[in-house]
Assembly symmetry: C3
Homo-oligomer: 350 residues x 3
C-alpha cells in the first residue's frame, strides 16, 4: 500500500517541492524514517535530526525550508503547521491500514425493536440498545456498550468497548468515546434534611457536539434541570469528571484526571492540564490555560495562563517549608513589627 506524495498534497495542501511521484508507505519520526517513509520537522530543535534523516519526503515550515530544506535530497512539503500536517497524514495512513468495520448487528447484541439504526452502522457483541435510540450512518458501537432510551448518536461516531451512554443523551458526528466512559449518569444533587440527604432527581441530559473525543473511564453527568453541554471539538482525556449542568466551550481540551464541579462554565479554546480541579458554579473565560495540578476556586475572567501548585522538594526540606507555611501570617506580623520598630529608630535618630 504505497501513497504518492502528490496525493497527500492534493488532500492536505501545502507547497510541494520535488517530484509528486515519490511514493511512501507511512509516516515516521525523523530518526526512525527510512526511504519508504515521509517524515516531518515541527520543532526547530530537531533540525540536526532533519539534516540526517533518510526519509523519502519531509514536511516542514517555510522557515525551516529556507535552511534545512535546502540540503534535503527528497521531496518537501512546505506548510505553515507541519505538526498538524503530520497528524492528518498519519490519520490517512492509519485509515488505509485499518480493517474496515463490518456493518450489521452482532447476534449477541440486545436491541430494542424501536431503535433506529443506520444500515451502515456496526453494533458489536453484547451491546444493549434501549428503545427509541437513533444511531447514524457509519457509527461503530463496540462490544459491551449500553445505550439508554432515546439516545442519539451522530454519523461516523465511534464508541469503544463498554461505553455507557444513558437515556436521552446526544452526541454529534465524528465523535470518539473511549472504553469505560459513562455519559449521562445522575449529577450529585442532594438536599440535606436534618442530617440525612435527599436525592434531587436529575432530569437534564448530556448534549455533546461534533468532533468530540472523550477518554477512557471519563464521566460526564447529566444536568439537574438544564442540560450538561459539551461543545464542538472538545477533547477530554481519561478519568475526567464533569459535573452536572456544566458547559464546556468549543475546542477546549482537558488532560487526564481533571475534575470540574457542577454548574461551572468553561470557555472556548481553553486547556486544562492534568488533574486540574475546578470548583462548582465558576465561570472561566475563553482562551484560559491552566497548569497541571492547579485548583481553581474562583472564576477566571481574563484569558491567560494560570497556575497554582505547591512545589515538590526533598522530604526534609518540604517538612521545614510546610511548617513555615502554617505560620505565615505570624511571619508577616513579625515583619510588620520590624518595619514599625525601624521607623521609630529612624525617626528618633533624625
Amino acid at each position: 500500500m504505497t501513497t504518492r506524495i502528490g496525493e497527500l498534497v492534493e488532500r492536505f495542501g501545502g507547497q510541494l517541492i520535488g517530484s509528486a511521484d515519490v511514493v511512501v508507505t507511512s509516516i515516521a519520526p525523523l530518526d526512525m524514517a527510512d526511504e519508504k517513509n515521509i517524515t516531518f520537522l515541527s520543532n526547530p530543535k530537531f533540525r540536526n535530526a532533519a539534516a540526517k534523516t533518510k526519509a523519502a519526503a519531509l514536511i516542514l515550515s517555510p522557515a525551516d525550508d529556507e535552511t534545512i530544506g535546502q540540503t534535503f535530497s527528497g521531496a518537501r512539503i512546505v506548510t505553515k503547521n507541519p505538526y498538524a500536517y503530520f497528524a492528518r497524514t498519519s490519520q490517512f495512513f492509519e485509515q488505509k491500514k485499518k480493517r474496515p468495520p463490518q456493518p450489521g448487528i452482532h447476534p449477541t447484541a440486545s436491541v430494542d425493536p424501536s431503535a433506529k439504526i443506520a444500515p451502515s452502522a456496526t453494533i458489536g457483541a453484547h451491546v444493549s440498545i434501549d428503545g427509541d435510540v437513533v444511531i447514524g450512518e457509519n457509527v461503530v458501537i463496540d462490544a459491551g456498550c449500553v445505550i439508554g432510551r432515546g439516545a442519539k448518536i451522530g454519523a461516523n461516531t465511534h464508541f469503544y468497548p463498554r461505553v455507557v451512554f444513558l437515556d436521552g443523551c446526544e452526541i454529534g458526528e465524528n465523535g470518539i468515546i473511549y472504553p469505560g466512559a459513562v455519559i449521562g449518569s445522575d449529577g450529585f444533587g442532594l438536599a440535606n434534611d436534618g442530617g440525612a440527604w435527599i436525592k434531587i432527581p436529575q432530569v437534564g441530559r448530556v448534549i455533546i457536539g461534533n468532533d468530540v473525543q472523550i477518554g477512557a473511564n471519563t464521566t460526564v453527568d447529566r444536568g439537574a434541570l438544564v442540560d450538561t453541554v459539551i461543545g464542538d471539538g472538545v477533547k477530554l482525556d481519561n478519568q475526567i469528571q464533569i459535573g452536572h449542568n456544566c458547559r464546556i466551550g468549543d475546542h477546549t481540551a482537558m488532560a487526564g484526571c481533571v475534575g470540574v464541579g457542577g454548574s461551572s462554565i468553561i470557555g472556548k479554546h481553553c486547556t486544562l492540564g492534568g488533574a486540574v480541579g475546578v470548583a462548582g458554579h465558576l465561570e472561566i473565560a475563553d482562551n484560559v490555560h491552566i497548569t497541571a495540578a492547579s485548583n481553581v476556586s474562583r472564576s477566571i475572567r481574563e484569558p491567560g495562563h494560570y497556575a497554582g501548585s505547591y512545589p515538590l522538594d526533598k522530604h526534609e526540606e518540604w517538612q521545614k517549608t510546610a511548617s513555615v507555611v502554617r505560620n505565615l501570617d505570624t511571619l508577616r506580623d513579625r515583619v510588620r513589627e520590624l518595619e514599625k520598630t525601624i521607623k521609630e529608630i529612624k525617626d528618633k535618630s533624625l
Copy 2:
C-alpha cells in the same frame, strides 16, 4: 398526569395556605415555572424571582411566607426546609413519569441456578450473577452488571449498567450504584521482600448500609482481614476511591474524585469536597467538613471546617511565589536575624 397540591401536603407535610385542589403537573424553578407548575423558594436571595413567578403553587419557609408569601396569589406550602421539600416533590413527579421496570430476567442474562432472585426484581441484558447471590424485592440490575458469588442486594436497590459487585459484598435497601462502579475489588495490600512485592490476600468484604448512593466509576475496595464498611445514608459522587478497611460514617457525603487511603475511619455527617485526599490509617471526627482539593495527612479530632489548597494565580505570579515558598525557611531565618539585630541596636541606643 396532574397532582392536587393537597396530595403533596398529605405525603410530605407542611402547612397549606390556599386551596388543596390547585393542580400541577411538575415542579420547576421560580423563573421557569408556569401555571401548571409548583415552584420553591429556598434561598432569600431569590425573593425577587419569587415575587414574579407564574407558578400555581409555592413552597417556602415561614420567614419568607411572612414577606413574599403575602403577595403570592397561588397556593403556598409553608415548611421549615423548602429545599428538602423540593427534592421530595421532584422525586414524586419523577416517579410518576418513569417507565416502571419490567420484572424478570432478561434472556441474555447469565444467572447461576443457586442465586435467589425476588420475583419482583428486574435483571437486564448480559448481566452475570454468580452462585448463592441473594437479590431482594424490586431490585433493578441494569445491563452488563456482574454480581459475584454470595453477594446480597437489599430491596429497592438499583444498579445502573456495568456495575461490578464482587463476591460476598452486601448492600442494604434503597441503594443506587451508578455505571462503572466497582465494589469489592482487592485492596492494595503488598509486602516487600527484597525489592519485589508479594500480594497479601484480601479476605474482607464491603458492607454497605441502607440509602447509600455510589457514583459512576467509583471504586470501593474489600477489606484485607476485616470488612470495609459504608454507613447508612452515605453519598459518594463519581470517581471516588475508598481503600480497604475504611469505615465511612452514616450520612457522610463526598464529592467527585475524592481518594481515601486504606484503614481510615471517617465520622458521621462529614462532607468532603471534590478531589480531597485522605491518607491511610487516619481518623476523622463526626461533622468535619473539608474544602475541595485539600489533602488530609493527619487525623482530625474536632468537628469543624478545614481547608488546605494552594491558591491559583497568574502563571508569572505563581512562579515568583513558588520560588519564595521553596525558600521560606531561609526567609524566616532572615526575619529572626533582623529581630536580633534590631534588639541589639535598641539595647545599644538605650
Copy 3:
C-alpha cells in the same frame, strides 16, 4: 483442611523451632488468632499482643524470637521478613480455600475463531475475544471482559470482570487486572491547527511484564509511535492514569489516583503515594519515593524521599495563610528592604 507447620517451612523456608506436626487451618492477626491459627509478628510495637496471642504457631524475626519468642509455647518460624512470610502463607491458605476455576469457554462468550486459547484457560460469560488473540495456560478471563485483536495474555494471568484490553497489547505471566481497567486506549495526542484539535493516531501498544497487578478502573494508554511499557512486578492501585509512551520500571508501586503524564519514564523500585501527579516528559530515577498528593513537575535524578503538598488547616487559618502566600514575593521584598535599612543604620552608627 488443615496444614502442618512443617509444610509451610518446606514451601517458604525459615527456621522451625518446635514441632513440625502442629496443624493450623489459617493465618490470623495476633489478637484474633486462636489455637487453630498461625499468626505473625512483623512490627516490634505489637510484642505485647504477641505475648498474649493464643495462636498455635508464630512467625517472627530473629530479634523478636530472642525476646518474645522465648515465652511463646507454640511452634515458631523464625525468618528475616515475617511480613513477607505472612503474605506467602496467607496466599497459600487462600489458594486452598478458593473454588478452582472451571476451564472452558462460557456459552455466552463471543470468541473469534482465529483466537488461540489454551485448554486450561477459563473464559467467562459475555466475554468478547477478537481475532488472533493468544491466551496462555490457566488464564482466567472473568465476565464481560473485551480482548482486542492480536492481544497476548501470559500464563496464569487473571482478568477480573469488565477489563478492556485492546488490540495488540500484551501482558506476561501471573498478572492480575482488576475490574473496569482499560489497557491500550488511545493516548491523548492532538495537534492544534488554527484553534481546532487534530487527532494524532496512536499506533504503539501497551506491553506489560510478568507479575504485574493493575487496579480497578485504572487506565494505561497505548503509545503514540513507540510502546507504553510496564515493567515486571509493577503494582498499580485503583483509578491510576498512565499516559502514552510512559515506561514504568520493574517493581515500582503506585497508590490510588496517581496520574502520570505522557512520555514520562519512572525508574525501578519507586513508590508513588496516593494522588501523586507526574507531569509529562519527565524522568524519575530508581528508588525514588514520593509522598501522597505531591505534584512532580521536574525530573528527579537522585534516589530519595520527596514531598510537596500544601498543609491542611482550620478553614479560617487557611484563609489567612493563603492570603499571605499570594503575596509572598512582596513579603520577601519587605524583608530585603529591612535588611538594607538596618545595614544603613548600623553603618551610620559606627
